[in-house]
Symmetry: C2
Subunit: 266 residues, 2 copies
DNA sequence: GATATACTGTTTATCAAGTAAACATATTGG
DNA sequence: CCAATATGTTTACTTGATAAACAGTATATC
């Protein structure tokens, strides 16, 4: 099928409106009064509010109010709140990427990708709260996917294998990003009030997680490793994120060897 | 600190109300009229609604109405909607676990865990839509964590290493579960209406994802692997989920070897 | 057994949020 | 110049969570 000669306008119609906006597929209006806002401005303010007060604080009225307009005015720019969320998500992905590395440094390049992704979750704690609608389809989000693929450009892998590795890395990055975010929050809240989750939970869980029902989990709850008290002393092998990540990289590495040498392992 | 002699009641006070309910930490009322509902019944109905019409369809009024009561009556049982969501999540984790395997079959046991987790996402497509509040603290959810730990019971790993491996497996399972869910949806929607995402997007993305801006992603979009058209023909190495999973298992395996043999690889 | 108490489910009432529709006003292509 | 098309605002509707007051009911206690 020859879809390659589809115009950007046509493409815009196939995408959800928010995605079309993110791609800049919107004919600038020819008549009518000058616009007093811009999509960038709106999304920027929304991100600002979410950074400050969380995603739940982002309402159409709040965003509009902080820009000095009424809620309904936003709908002249963005057709729905879901679209605003998509645009926020894409904005959070608008980060500078480090330069490419030589092919043999693929492990380090993958590490950079995972760190960079985790950093998005830390920089914008609300990022992980946006419901996932499906595969990424917005421009900056796709640049991040492209980044994930970059270290594999010279690997003898087919497209599905590459996508599988992207999934491996990105799902780990997401989960770790969320954990990291929660830990950031705990630190912040812990300094202010002693009211935070983890510590309280660990006492409760020790009373509830019985060895009979939870034979494998029990010792880990008792030791405090489950609720992650004393969060630092585990840095023997590198930090927590790196440990899991290196296992993934080892798994990838091994596959490459097997595929090249036909079964033998390094 | 000697937290072990905390009573279940005391523990309940430290947990969010929803979690306390999930653990059954609620003194049955001594006076007043007989209760006409039960928590199980409410949560069951909420799950039923979510299974049928999605998480957004679960409102206090809808749940109450389908049980023949008013919205406010639910608050006599569950203090807030967030608590209801936690209970739903826990209920979805109430699944039968396969019997333990001998230690040397740890790979298969981990596979079973990942498959089982993915199946939760498929059985309850709303499961992944529930916002994550932190680490699991409800009983069935923790049984699943215990399951994940089971294959590691005899491994020479410290608690943090075990938790890292759990994170590795569970984050992969979550991401793959969500993808699988979306694919299930696409199949369902595709048969009814041709209106579904993936296929439409792929045409649009081919027009937008230019090789200059997306050098690594472009070929994959063009081939259709990104939007996952022709979802089957990639079964050369086993199915899609297994491929990534085997890399994780290889990574774990290798670590075990290195740790035992002090650096050498199998 | 009477009654105060602690419950039950209901009714009524807020409040917030998303968004449709109608409106007055501002630009600009023809 | 003016019809057409925008813009931002006002008004209004809907849905959802949940607080508060209420009327009826079972039990503990006297």
């Amino acid at each position: 099928m020859n879809n390659n000669d589809m115009t950007r306008e046509e493409a815009g119609k196939l995408l959800p409106p928010g995605a079309a906006l993110a791609w800049g597929l919107a004919k600038p209006p020819q008549r009518g009064p000058k616009r007093e806002m811009s999509i960038d401005q709106i999304v920027g303010k929304a991100v600002e509010i979410a950074d400050r007060d969380g995603l739940a604080a982002v309402s159409m009225s709040r965003v509009a109010a902080e820009l000095g307009f009424t809620a309904m005015s936003l709908y002249r720019y963005i057709p729905s709140k879901d679209d605003l969320l998509l645009l926020m998500q894409d904005k959070a992905c608008d980060i500078p990427l480090p330069p490419a590395r030589p092919a043999h440094e693929w492990r380090e390049e993958m590490r950079e990708y995972v760190r960079g992704t985790v950093d998005i979750f830390r920089a914008h704690p609300w990022y992980g709260d946006i419901p996932i609608f499906g595969i990424p389809i917005s421009p900056n989000n796709l640049r991040v996917v492209d980044w994930a693929l970059r270290p594999m450009r010279d690997m003898p892998l087919n497209d599905y294998e590459k996508m599988s590795f992207v999934l491996l890395l990105s799902s780990y990055a997401r989960s770790y990003g969320m954990i990291q975010r929660d830990m950031d929050r705990a630190v912040q809240a812990g300094s202010n009030a002693e009211e935070f989750g983890g510590v309280h939970y660990s006492a409760a869980l020790r009373a509830l997680v019985k060895p009979e029902q939870y034979p494998s989990l029990h010792p880990i709850v008792v030791s405090g490793a489950y609720t992650d008290e004393n969060g630092e002393e585990k840095d023997a092998v590198g930090n927590d994120m790196d440990f899991g990540l290196e296992r993934i990289l080892d798994g990838i590495d091994q596959y490459l060897h097997v595929k090249r040498d036909g079964g033998a392992v390094k």
